[in-house]
């Protein structure tokens, strides 16, 4: 009988810690609010050297973050540097941020590059290889599937939507295409900057605008799905760049360039990426320099998008 009592007691003692004794422990009470009316800011990690990365907004803001976050993981692995993704808020100008060194690296289109290069001496280190296997891309002018537009000249007296006013595929190249077709902005009933290629697509599909200039990759995808009809296709222009701030050390630039050139989004690095095929650099990068952007620079100047010289 003593054995039974011993077993019961030992079992109770064994189980004691499970039976909620933690409620007896005295714990600090955290106040939810404070009297101090000074704005509270969270402490951000500023100790470790971090290179900031930003981009031209291209699609849905959250989708952009989801696409570039794993890309930065690749760069961190390949270079050994830490990178921080810094989306631009509406009150921030990426060209200025990049030029002044608050952003070290950025994925920007030709037009942004031309402006940043002219104003701050920003350098393009690589250009993206499109799904056609080229380091050039095109822009498309799309219309809704039930539109009766047959050529760009039919756009006179119609509404038109561009992407962002800094976008190459969403603005520069569509402007070039319209100009070559003899359609000036004044010929249009109205035009707008939707903000992104997504917004352009939505505006055209919904019929709010008769046509829109859009990235060729997304335009073809939407056309294949029967959501839009391709009205015109541009000639090739240099694809989007990865450009670096002029303040970034050369060795860091070189290391980053090497890592970018080794980037294989359809090969070894595919698994870690998110919808990378929808970017303007789905097959990786080739090295580039300023000469590759001469034609685009001439058109941009001609269209009055920027002055052309160095400010």
């Amino acid at each position: 009988m003593p054995k039974v009592v011993l077993i019961i007691l030992s079992t109770i003692l064994f189980l004691w810690p499970i039976t909620g004794c933690s409620t007896l422990t005295k714990e600090n009470v955290i106040p939810l609010t404070q009297e101090d009316q000074n704005p509270v800011t969270a402490k951000m990690d500023v100790t470790s050297p971090v290179y900031t990365f930003s981009y031209d907004r291209r699609m849905d803001p959250a989708e952009d973050v989801k696409m570039y976050a794993p890309f930065l993981k690749y760069l961190e692995t390949a270079t050994g540097y830490n990178f921080e993704l810094r989306p631009m808020t509406p009150n921030q100008n990426l060209i200025e941020e990049l030029g002044t060194g608050r952003v070290d690296i950025a994925a920007i289109g030709t037009l942004s590059y031309l402006k940043a290069h002219q104003k701050y001496g920003v350098r393009a280190v690589v250009r993206g290889i499109t799904e056609q296997g080229k380091a050039e891309y095109r822009a498309l002018i799309i219309t809704s599937t039930n539109s009766n537009l047959r050529s760009l000249s039919d756009l006179r007296g119609k509404t038109f939507t561009f992407g962002s006013d800094t976008s190459t595929q969403g603005y520069l190249i569509p402007r070039i295409m319209l100009t070559e077709a003899g359609v000036n902005l004044t010929d249009l009933t109205g035009y707008t900057f939707a903000g992104s290629h997504f917004d352009t697509a939505n505006a055209v599909i919904s019929g709010r605008y008769a046509a829109g200039g859009i990235q060729d990759t997304l335009g073809r995808e939407l056309s294949n799905k029967g959501l839009v009809r391709i009205l015109a296709e541009s000639e090739e222009f240099p694809s989007s760049t990865i450009s670096v701030s002029p303040s970034l050390p050369t060795d860091v630039v070189k290391k980053i360039q090497e890592a970018l050139l080794k980037f294989a989004p359809e090969g070894k690095d595919k698994g870690m990426l998110y919808h990378w095929d929808q970017t303007e650099m789905p097959l990786g990068f080739v090295s580039t320099d300023d000469k590759d952007f001469e034609k685009a620079r001439i058109w941009a100047v001609r269209l009055g998008l920027f002055s052309g010289g160095t400010e």
Partner: protein
């Protein structure tokens, strides 16, 4: 403590321990599961909220973000929500300023995408759920949920489980008590039965009719008891048989030990009676022996009863033969009143072969069992054999004495014969031969001087030689008469009677049915020597004037009778028991000679009426050729 109580206590203890184990464990696991489930939902909700807030936050629509956060507060379980933007600024749901402690309480580390932290706040217990606004972006959304309702739910679960466990313990205890009683009841029955078995009561059985293992055990137990009872019964019977056998052997052994040759029969019978009475635990008894020739009782040995208390009885078993005895028909049972008590009297015959020598009677308080009766019958045979052996022993001893006397007589007779031969050779033959030698020497001296005288001397010498030869013939004849060999027994005896040195030669008369056919030479010689002794005695002592010799050969025996009419002598059978040196060896010698070949010699004598010696010798079939002729 009873087994049923032990079982009850153990089961109650097990239920209680299991309850004690179950309540905290279930509370722990249910609490954890509930907490994990709630946390999963909280995290999911936080991620959904973060996903919804991502675009307005990234596009700088902070008012939208603020409204969305405040919209979350419709959930009563939500305490707060705040968003840390990449630049460190904070959007939150508090009316006042958010506490910096709260902001830093559950910050995500670089590799974390979500974090949970439970803490005590000035608004109760809160669980802070932190998620990234978007992976790869340094922006965190934190939502605080009330934990009180989880605790309340856990408390309700704990109370329910505790109540159920308590009810389970009570019901289990009742069931355990009933189970203990149910299990221990048949065992108690079996235990009670084992006590009875221990006391030797094998006729009890346990009545358990359940169809389970206990029922099988009970049935096996009953079967075992039946087998045990049968075995014990056999053992008891065997023991009783063994005891009876032992007693029988003990009696027989005791009786056998009393039998010592050379002792008086009465002594042996007395000892045997003591052994029987002691070993069979009897009250007493007596032995009656009858005379050989009649049924008259001539000897009574008693034990535990006086002779005059013995009821008179004839030779009770004299009509019994061996087969009747062996069949147990020769038993007597009666009762005897002695000293105010009634005894059973059991009588069995004392017998040897078919002869009833007497009876043994035993007193007992109750009737004897058949085994004892069989033993007594065996003892009857044993005592009969013993009495016979004692009698034979006595006869043997007597015969040994007679043989010894005969041997002595034979030696004396041989010496007498040698003396006679020596005396006759010395006194007669030797003298005659010396005279013959002298006469021959004288004749030799005269042969050349006077031939006639020499011839006359030689003639005398020849006559002397003839006489010497006759003397030698007589000597030899007395050693073994040639007449016996040549003419047979009767002529030899007649010659012997006539040639004895009688003072007055009697008239010898011979009768019989002898013939020329001869009987066995051994019988003939024996009868001749008996006759020779009788005739010699008659010649020496009887002074008879008439001697009658009769010889008859019957179908089975040869009879020789020598009868004289002399002075006779006083015949006494005890004369053969005389001291050494005074025994009538001649008479003994005759008897022994006859007995050596299975015959007998009987002597009848009366003073002045002569003596008759009769020898009867049995014949083998081929020996009785006398009768045929």
């Amino acid at each position: 403590m009873k087994l049923g109580n032990k079982i009850s206590i153990v089961i109650v203890a097990i239920i209680a321990v299991m309850g004690l184990l179950t309540v905290p464990l279930i509370s722990h696991f249910v609490g954890n599961a509930l907490r994990e489930s709630v946390q999963d939902k909280e995290i999911s909700l936080a991620k959904v909220v973060a996903s919804n807030l991502a675009n307005p936050a990234l596009t700088g629509n902070y008012l939208t973000v603020q409204r969305n956060l405040e919209g979350l507060k419709e959930d009563r379980q939500l305490v707060y929500a705040f968003l840390i933007l990449p630049d460190g600024s904070i959007l939150h749901t508090f009316k006042g300023n958010i506490s910096s402690d709260l902001v830093e309480l559950n910050r995500l580390t670089p590799n974390q995408s979500q974090a949970l932290k439970s803490f005590s706040s000035n608004d109760g217990r809160v669980e802070d759920v932190g998620v990234l606004l978007l992976d790869g972006l340094e922006s965190e959304l934190h939502i605080g949920y009330k934990e009180d309702y989880i605790q309340a739910t856990l408390k309700r679960v704990f109370e329910t489980i505790f109540t159920l466990t308590l009810v389970g313990v009570i019901l289990g205890s009742l069931a355990a008590g009933a189970l203990g009683k149910y299990l221990s009841s048949p065992i108690e029955k079996l235990t009670a039965l084992t006590r009875k078995i221990k006391e030797g009561q094998l006729d009890h059985r346990v009545t358990i009719t359940t169809k389970d293992e206990v029922g099988e055990l009970a049935q096996s137990f009953n079967r075992m008891l039946t087998a045990l009872e049968e075995s014990m019964s056999k053992i008891r019977v065997a023991e009783e048989e063994q005891r009876t056998k032992n007693r029988e052997l003990s009696v027989l052994n005791g009786v056998a030990e009393t039998i010592r040759l050379g002792q008086e029969i009465n002594t042996v019978l007395q000892d045997a009676l003591v052994q029987i009475v002691e070993n069979l635990a009897l009250s007493g008894g007596w032995v009656q022996l009858r005379s050989r020739e009649t049924t008259e009782i001539n000897n009574i040995i008693t034990l535990g009863i006086t002779e005059h208390a013995i009821p008179c009885s004839e030779c009770e078993f004299c009509e019994c033969d061996l087969s009747m005895i062996e069949q147990g028909q020769c038993l007597s049972k009666s009762s005897l009143h002695k000293d105010g008590r009634t005894y059973q009297v059991t009588g069995v015959p004392i017998f040897v072969n078919d002869r009833i020598l007497g009876a043994i009677y035993l007193l007992s308080n109750k009737e004897l069992i058949s085994a004892d009766l069989a033993t007594l019958q065996t003892i009857g045979g044993q005592l009969g054999t013993m009495i016979e052996n004692v009698n034979l022993w006595k006869e043997l001893k007597a015969r040994e004495a007679k043989v010894s006397q005969l041997l002595e007589k034979v030696i004396v007779a041989q010496e007498d014969e040698r003396k006679r031969i020596a005396r006759e050779l010395h006194d007669e033959t030797s003298q005659s031969l010396a005279a013959l030698a002298m006469r021959l020497k004288v004749s030799m001296g005269w042969i050349h001087k006077d031939t006639r005288k020499a011839e006359a001397l030689l003639e005398e010498s020849k006559d002397e030689a003839v006489r010497i030869m006759r003397e030698l013939h007589n000597i030899v004849f007395h050693l073994r008469p040639t007449l016996l060999d040549d003419l047979g027994l009767v002529p030899a005896l007649r010659w012997l009677a006539e040639s004895r040195d009688w003072k007055e030669p009697p008239e010898v008369d011979v009768q019989g049915n002898w013939s020329k056919e001869r009987i066995d030479p051994q019988v003939e010689t024996t009868l001749y020597r008996i006759g020779q002794e009788a005739i010699t005695n008659a010649a020496k002592y009887s002074q008879a004037t008439h001697l009658f010799i009769e010889f008859k050969v019957e179908a089975t025996e040869a009879i020789l009778r020598i009868q004289d009419n002399g002075k006779g002598f006083i015949w006494d059978e005890n004369m053969f028991e005389l001291e050494q040196g005074k025994k009538p060896l001649g008479l003994v010698g005759m008897m022994e000679r006859a007995s050596l070949i299975g015959g007998r010699v009987e002597i009848y004598s009366e003073v002045k009426h002569g003596t008759t010696v009769e020898a009867v010798i049995p014949l083998k079939k081929e020996d009785n050729s006398y009768g045929k002729n």
